[in-house]
C-alpha cells in the first residue's frame, strides 16, 4: 500500500524545508527508521528517518528544492495489502467537519445557523452581548465604527429598523467580503493552481524585491556591430575548443569591468546591521528561464575567467538547472545579475532586482536597425541594455555612468580586452 510521507514540521513552526540530499532513490528498499533524506530548515539540518519499511515509489522534491510542511515528500510502498485500509489520499483532504454537541450548561443559547459562515465581525464583548440579547445577527449589521467595528448604536439602530430575527437570515450578508469565484465563474471556466514550490519561491522573492528596493530603470542603446564581427572571427577558434560562443560572456566581461569602476553596484544591503556591503569579488548571476520557472545561476569569480571559460560555465549551469542537478553554490551567492531572454530579448524591460543585490541589467535582442553615422543612415547591429538599480543604495547617476562604461566597452571590444585579467 502506498504510504505518503508528509513533510514534517521539524522545528517549532517551520513552514518549509530545503532538500539537502536524498540518501535513497526511487526503487530502493528501505527499512523502518532508516535515514532517507537530509533536510535543512531555517533552524536546523536534520536527517529524516523512514516511517515505514518498504520501497521508495516516488520522490516529489529533488535535492535543492523546497518542500513545504504538509506536502507529500515521498511515497513509500510498505507492501501491506491495500484492502486492509483505504489508501491514504495523495493530498490531505481539506475539510473535516467535526460535529460537537452544544455545551450542556445554561441552555439559553440557541445555535441557529452557523453554516452561514461569515468573515469575522469586529465588535466589543458588550456589543456582542447586546446583539445576543436583542437576537440580532452581528454579521447582518452595517458597521459604522473604526476599522469596520460594529458598535452598540449599530446594533440598536438595526433592531429599531425592524431587522428580522436571526433565524430568517439564511443568506450570509457579508459573503461579498470574501471573493467567491464559484458564484461568478461557470464550472470549468477557471482553474485553481496551488501557489507552491518554485513558483511560490519566485513569488516571494519578487514581491520582497519590489516592495523593498526603490527601483529606477535606465535604458541605453549599444552598437554591437564591432562585437558581431569579433564574434564571427572568434567562432572557429571557439569551436576548436568545443565552445559555442554567444554574446553573453562578452557582456559578463564588460559588466565586471564596469563594476570595478562603480563598486556601489556590486553590493548588497545587510538589513540587520544597516550596512552597505561592497563586494570585492564578482559572482555574476545569469537569470534565465529554467524548466520550473525563472532560475538564476551564478558564474563565480567571473573576473578571473576567460571568455571561453565563462561561456563553458554558462552552458554547464544551464544544463545543471535543466537536469535539476544544480548545487547550492550554482544557484546562490551572486553579487550582480544579468537577465537574458536570449534571442527573444525584446526592446526594453524593467528588470526586477535580484534582492538584496543593488542592480540588474536586462539584455535585449541584437538586430540590424538604421543608425545615423557621419550624417548617413547606415545599417548597424544595435542592442538595448536596461539597468534597474536600487535607488536607496545607489543613484541614477551611478547606474547611468556604469551603463555608459559597459556600452563603451561593448562598442569597442579592443578596449574591453585591455582591461582583461
Amino acid at each position: 500500500m502506498a504510504f505518503n510521507f508528509y513533510m514534517p514540521d521539524i522545528g517549532e513552526g517551520v513552514v518549509e524545508g530545503e532538500i539537502v540530499a536524498w540518501k535513497v532513490k526511487e526503487g530502493d528498499r528501505v527499512t523502518l527508521d532508516q535515514p532517507i533524506v537530509e533536510v535543512m530548515t531555517d533552524k536546523a539540518t536534520v536527517e529524516l528517518p523512514s516511517p515505514r519499511a518498504g520501497t521508495i515509489v516516488q520522490i516529489n522534491y529533488r535535492d535543492g528544492q523546497i518542500c513545504p510542511v504538509g506536502q507529500v515528500l515521498v511515497v513509500i510502498d510498505d507492501g501491506a495489502a491495500a484492502s486492509s485500509k483505504p489508501e491514504a489520499p495523495a493530498t490531505p483532504p481539506a475539510l473535516h467537519a467535526v460535529p460537537v454537541a452544544p455545551g450542556s450548561g445554561a441552555g439559553a443559547i440557541q445555535i441557529v445557523d452557523t453554516t452561514a459562515s461569515r468573515a469575522r465581525v469586529l465588535a466589543t464583548p458588550a456589543t456582542r452581548r447586546l446583539a445576543r440579547q436583542l437576537g440580532v445577527e452581528l454579521g447582518d449589521i452595517e458597521p459604522t465604527g473604526k476599522h469596520g467595528r460594529v458598535t452598540t448604536d449599530d446594533v440598536r439602530g438595526h433592531r429599531a429598523n425592524g431587522a428580522a430575527a436571526p433565524a430568517a437570515s439564511a443568506t450570509p450578508a457579508r459573503a461579498a467580503a470574501t471573493y467567491a469565484p464559484s458564484a461568478i465563474a461557470k464550472a470549468g471556466d477557471e482553474e485553481r493552481i496551488p501557489l507552491r514550490g518554485v513558483r511560490k519561491k519566485i513569488a516571494e522573492s519578487m514581491a520582497r524585491a519590489v516592495h523593498t528596493a526603490a527601483h529606477f530603470t535606465y535604458v541605453e542603446e549599444v552598437d554591437m556591430t564591432e562585437l558581431v564581427a569579433v564574434r564571427e572571427r572568434a567562432k572557429p577558434r571557439a569551436a576548436e575548443r568545443g565552445v559555442k560562443l554567444n554574446y553573453l560572456p562578452f557582456i559578463v566581461k564588460a559588466v565586471v569591468s564596469g563594476l570595478k569602476k562603480w563598486p556601489q553596484l556590486n553590493a548588497s544591503l545587510d538589513e540587520t546591521t544597516q550596512e552597505i556591503v561592497r563586494k570585492k569579488y564578482y559572482h555574476i548571476g545569469i537569470a534565465a528561464q529554467g524548466p520550473h520557472g525563472l532560475a538564476v545561476s551564478v558564474v563565480r569569480e567571473a573576473d578571473r575567467r576567460s571568455i571561453f571559460d565563462i561561456s563553458r560555465e554558462i552552458d554547464r549551469l544551464g544544463e545543471a538547472v535543466k537536469a535539476g542537478t544544480a548545487t547550492r553554490d550554482d544557484l546562490t551567492g551572486g553579487t550582480f545579475t544579468i537577465s537574458s531572454l536570449g534571442k527573444l530579448g525584446g526592446v526594453l524591460a524593467t528588470p526586477i532586482i535580484n534582492f538584496p543585490e543593488v542592480a540588474i541589467i536586462g539584455v535585449h535582442k541584437i538586430e540590424e536597425r538604421p543608425a545615423v553615422r557621419g550624417g548617413q543612415i547606415v545599417a548597424r547591429h544595435l542592442m538595448n541594455l536596461s539597468i534597474s538599480i536600487d535607488h536607496r543604495l545607489a543613484d541614477g547617476w551611478d547606474g547611468a555612468m556604469f551603463l555608459q562604461d559597459v556600452k563603451a566597452l561593448l562598442e569597442d571590444p579592443t578596449t574591453m580586452f585591455m582591461e582583461m585579467v
Binding site: M7, E12, V46, P92, G105, I109
Partner: protein
C-alpha cells in the same frame, strides 16, 4: 561515609565526587562494598529506558508524528541517580530533562506518551508542548517552560511541608546550568537557606544553555559554589557516574528528612544531543568534544562495565534489555498514537467553573467551521 562529605564547604563545592571512573573501575572498592545489587540493576534499567525512549521519540519527531522533543540522552545518570534517592511521598519539580525521574517513580509510558501526542488521554488535555508530563499519583509536577520559575515553587513546596510538619517528605527541584543565571534561582536559594526547608535543589550542569556555553554562563569556578553564599551545603558530583549521583542526592535527602535543611547539588554532565528537536548544535559548538562525551564518558557504558566487572551483569544483557524496552515503547506508541485528540469542548474547560455564553458561542462557531487536520492524522 566517604571522605568527600567531611571536606569543608568550599572544597565540597569545588570538588567532584566520583565512585566509578570513566573506564568503569571503582575509585575506592570499599566505598562500593555496600552497594545494593537490586538498586544497581534498577539504576541500569532506568538509564537504558531513557536512552531507548529518547531515540524512538526523536525518530517520531522527524517523521512528523509528534511536534517537539527534548532528549536526556547522555544525562541518564544524573536523572536516574537522583530519582532513585527519592521516596514515594516526596515531590518532584522538574526542568526539561527529568521525565526519566517520573518514569522511574512509576509514571507509565502510556501517560508520558499521551502528553507527548497531546491526545484525549493526556491529563493536561493537549494544551502543553510535548515533554511536559505531569503525574499527580507519583508527585511529579509539570515542568515550567519558563527557565527557573520552578525553583521557587520547589522551595515553596518544601517550606509548606515543613510548616505542615510533614517530617518525612522532601521536595526535589531541578534546573539546568542556564537556570542559575535567572533571578528566580537566587530568590529560591535564599529562601531555601533561610527556611531550612526539606528540599534538594539539583542543577544538571550539561554545560550548554541552548547555545550558551558554561564558560560564559558564570564567572564562578563552579555552579555549586553559588549555594555557599546562601548558606546552603553545596555538593558537586560527576553527573555521568550514576552511583556517585545517587550517593550525593541520597545524602541530601537523608539530611532533609532528618530536618537538617536544604542542599544544593551540581551534577556535571554534558548535553550530547541537541537542546531540542528544533536545535542544531553543529552551528555553534565543536562536535568533536561531544563525541568524547558520547563515547568515553557515556554514563550507561560506565555502569555497564562496572557491573559486568562485578559479575552482576552479563555481556550482551544490555542489548537484550534495550530490545525488550524498545518493544514496550513501540507498543505504547501504537496505543497512544491511535487515540484521538481531546474533544473540541475541552478547549473551553477549566477557566471558569461553567463556560460562559461567549465561550460556548465561540466553540459552536469553531465546530461549524471547516477545519484541516495535520496530514499524519489521516
Amino acid at each position: 561515609m566517604e571522605a568527600y562529605f567531611e571536606l569543608d564547604d568550599e572544597a565540597k563545592a569545588r570538588g567532584l565526587f566520583q565512585l566509578v571512573r570513566e573506564d568503569g573501575t571503582a575509585v575506592d572498592e570499599a566505598a562500593l562494598s555496600g552497594l545494593d545489587r537490586t538498586l544497581a540493576r534498577r539504576l541500569f534499567e532506568g538509564m537504558v529506558r531513557i536512552r531507548v525512549t529518547d531515540a524512538r521519540m526523536m525518530a517520531l519527531q522527524r517523521q512528523g508524528r509528534i511536534g517537539f522533543y527534548g532528549e536526556a540522552t547522555g544525562q541518564e545518570a544524573a536523572v536516574v541517580g537522583s530519582a532513585a534517592a527519592s521516596e514515594p511521598q516526596d515531590w518532584i519539580v522538574p526542568a526539561l530533562r527529568e521525565a526519566g525521574v517520573g518514569l522511574f517513580r512509576g509514571m507509565t509510558l502510556d501517560s508520558y506518551l499521551a502528553q507527548i501526542f497531546g491526545n484525549a488521554e493526556d491529563s493536561t488535555k493537549g494544551r502543553q508542548l510535548p515533554c511536559h508530563p505531569c503525574d499527580r499519583a507519583h508527585h511529579y509536577v509539570v515542568m515550567s517552560s519558563c527557565v527557573s520559575t520552578q525553583i521557587p515553587h520547589a522551595v515553596g513546596i518544601a517550606m509548606a511541608m515543613k510548616i505542615a510538619g510533614d517530617r518525612d517528605k522532601v521536595c526535589f527541584g531541578f534546573m539546568g546550568d542556564g537556570g542559575t543565571s535567572e533571578g528566580d534561582f537566587h530568590v529560591a536559594l535564599n529562601f531555601a537557606g533561610v527556611s531550612k526547608a526539606p528540599c534538594i535543589l539539583i542543577c544538571q550542569n550539561n554545560q550548554w544553555a541552548i547555545s550558551t556555553p558554561g564558560t560564559v554562563q558564570t564567572a564562578a569556578a563552579s555552579i555549586a559554589l553559588k549555594g555557599i553564599g546562601y548558606g546552603l551545603e553545596a555538593l558537586r558530583a560527576d553527573g555521568n557516574d550514576v552511583l556517585a549521583v545517587h550517593r550525593v542526592v541520597k545524602y541530601a535527602a537523608d539530611k532533609a528528612r532528618r530536618g537538617d535543611g536544604a542542599t544544593f547539588v551540581e551534577l556535571v554532565t554534558y548535553r550530547v544531543s541537541a537542546h531540542s528537536s528544533s536545535d542544531d548544535p553543529s552551528r555553534y559548538r565543536d562536535e568533536a568534544v561531544t563525541e568524547l562525551w558520547k563515547d568515553k564518558r557515556d554514563p550507561i557504558r560506565r555502569l555497564e562495565t562496572y557491573l559486568v566487572g562485578r559479575g552482576w551483569l552479563a555481556a550482551g544483557e544490555r542489548e537484550a534489555l534495550a530490545h525488550q524496552m524498545e518493544a514496550e515503547v513501540r507498543d505504547a506508541i501504537a496505543r497512544q498514537e491511535a487515540i484521538a485528540p481531546p474533544a473540541l469542548e475541552t478547549l473551553i474547560e477549566d477557566v471558569y467553573e461553567e463556560p460562559t455564553w461567549l465561550q460556548r458561542e465561540q466553540l459552536a462557531e469553531l465546530a461549524a467551521a471547516p477545519r484541516t487536520r495535520a496530514p499524519h492524522q489521516h
